[in-house]
Amino acid sequence: MAEWYQVLMAALVGAGVPEWIATAIALLVGVTAIGLVAPLIALILVWLLRKVISRIQDRIGPNRVGPFGLLQTIADIVKLLSKEGINPSRADFMAYNLAPILSVFGVLLLFAVVPVTRGLIGVDINVGVLYIVALGSIGIMAALMAGWGSNNKYALLSGFRVVAQLLSYEIPLVLSMLAVVLYAGTMRFGELAEQQGNFLGLGWYVFLMPGAALIFFVCALAESEQTPFDLLEAESELIAGFHIEYSGMRFAMFFLAQFLSGFVFAWVGAAMFLGGWQGPGVDLPGIGGFLAAGYMMIKTFAIYLLMIWVRGTFPRLRVDQMMSFCWKILVPLTVGLISWQMVVQVLDLPIPVIAVLVLVGNLLVMGIGLYAVGRAIRQEGFRTKRAFTPDSLIGTVQPVAE
């Protein structure tokens, strides 16, 4: 349950505040906290991304403003704030201006359900997992509005890509989350974390369902438009994607939304697969709560760092590769995984046997998935090599015969 809310309410009512005012104040406190903390986290995220990517690419990264370049992001924000907000004359006023607001709004709403520690969850609704998926659609709408409203061909093309990519990857994302929901029997983030508290707080679902966790991670990368799947802002083909016509603070809002959505997916992944706030010593009186919040943040940042690592390492996929990876590999795999798990759980078996069977299914899915990806990469390499031999140029551009 969202205990912070009840504690605050009790304190306010105890101080003689009428109940409806107390409700309003408590809700306002929660909303303000989320609205303030999320952009502040984004400051750290931008700095972290630039530093880590620099290290991967053998550079130093921002190091001039503040210690270790920590204040670089603030300087950038001041720059963006002072820039001119350009309104293209042929752009659609409503759609163009509403899109950046909607995109940030959609991501901030996600922060309402992710858990910090036991009893400190914005709202622990009983459909928390589904809520995360459902509100992703606001981001799609925002990108679509931006792409259309800018009245720019590249932006519009990127808008098409947004819909194609995000709607496709939503399916394996939902199904991989469903694997956890099926096993835990709840969609509440609070209870999901409670159920992973066995073995000194190390009974994480990632050990039980590594396949689902891997698929979730890949889909989270795609849903938050991170590197192997960042076709939406492919610089060389689409210049910058749907936010090409945006400048100043409106561009910064898209930027903010993208960083926060990556972080929120890392957070959800940590809550669902890495045990949430669970860890050794969270039940200790006094420091237990702080320890739990610390674990939660460490796990979230660990997944985020993994995302940055992928971003610094992998090349971008092509559109057709991205779509066939989703529909030909991820979707069949997750459907198979879910069917297997349903059959296993319906059979009246003792819990350890169920756990072992689920693990076997996941390992099988991982094996098949990695084999399929490996085969696709080998074929792709073969095809690319052949594409550059002179034979394949017949009928296209022929070298001039001397």
């Binding site: 589904l130 998926v133 509100l135 659609s137 679509l144 098409f160 709607l167 509440r188």
Partner: protein, 178 residues
């Protein structure tokens, strides 16, 4: 001076929120049909669908609300917008919301409204005595799932079949002729 016979009711916070959500939904739905730009109509439709989700939240049917957002806003409204974006002529021009079918459609709409209003008003709907939610709300979703595969298994399967037929039909229509 005689007292007013009718007390003006002061809405509770819950009712106030409901009124706001209901007004927003109604205005958005009205804009869907009166707008001259089809793209704006689609955006208003999204607003209206969100409003309906808000009504579900107020009725404490969270699952229904989330499903509404997931299916209607996430998939259907996005596809409608997508279709409008692809038809370039419609996208940038303005169209008149009126055409020669206006009066026929308006009388139909009026009839449907009267029918629904009559249904809501006259039919003695069975209202459960105790509408308080059972326990922590976790059992609600478990119950919902259980009911879907036991009591309502046939309707669920039929809906699945319907969707499959629609899917196959769409593929047939979109397929290249060989």
């Amino acid at each position: 001076m005689p007292e007013l016979p009718v007390e003006i009711p002061i809405p509770t916070p819950h009712q106030a929120v409901f009124i706001m959500v209901a007004v927003a939904t109604s205005v958005a739905s009205l804009l869907v049909v009166t707008n001259r730009n089809l793209f704006y109509s689609a955006l208003c439709l999204v607003g209206a669908l969100f409003g309906v989700a808000g009504v579900y939240v107020l009725l404490e049917a969270e699952f229904l609300a989330i499903a509404q957002v997931l299916v209607y806003v996430g998939a259907i409204a996005t596809l409608i917008t997508f279709a409008i974006m692809l038809t370039r002529g419609i996208m940038f021009g303005t169209t008149s919301p009126n055409n020669r079918h206006m009066f026929a459609v308006m009388s139909m709409a009026l009839l449907v409204f009267l029918l629904v209003a009559g249904l809501v008003d006259r039919v003695p709907w069975a209202v459960a005595e105790d509408l308080t939610l059972s326990g922590d709300g976790k059992s609600l979703i478990v119950d919902l799932g259980w009911e879907f595969v036991t009591t309502y298994a046939l309707p669920l399967e039929l809906i699945g079949l319907l969707l499959l037929i629609a899917l196959v039909g769409a593929v047939m229509l979109a397929r290249d002729d060989e």
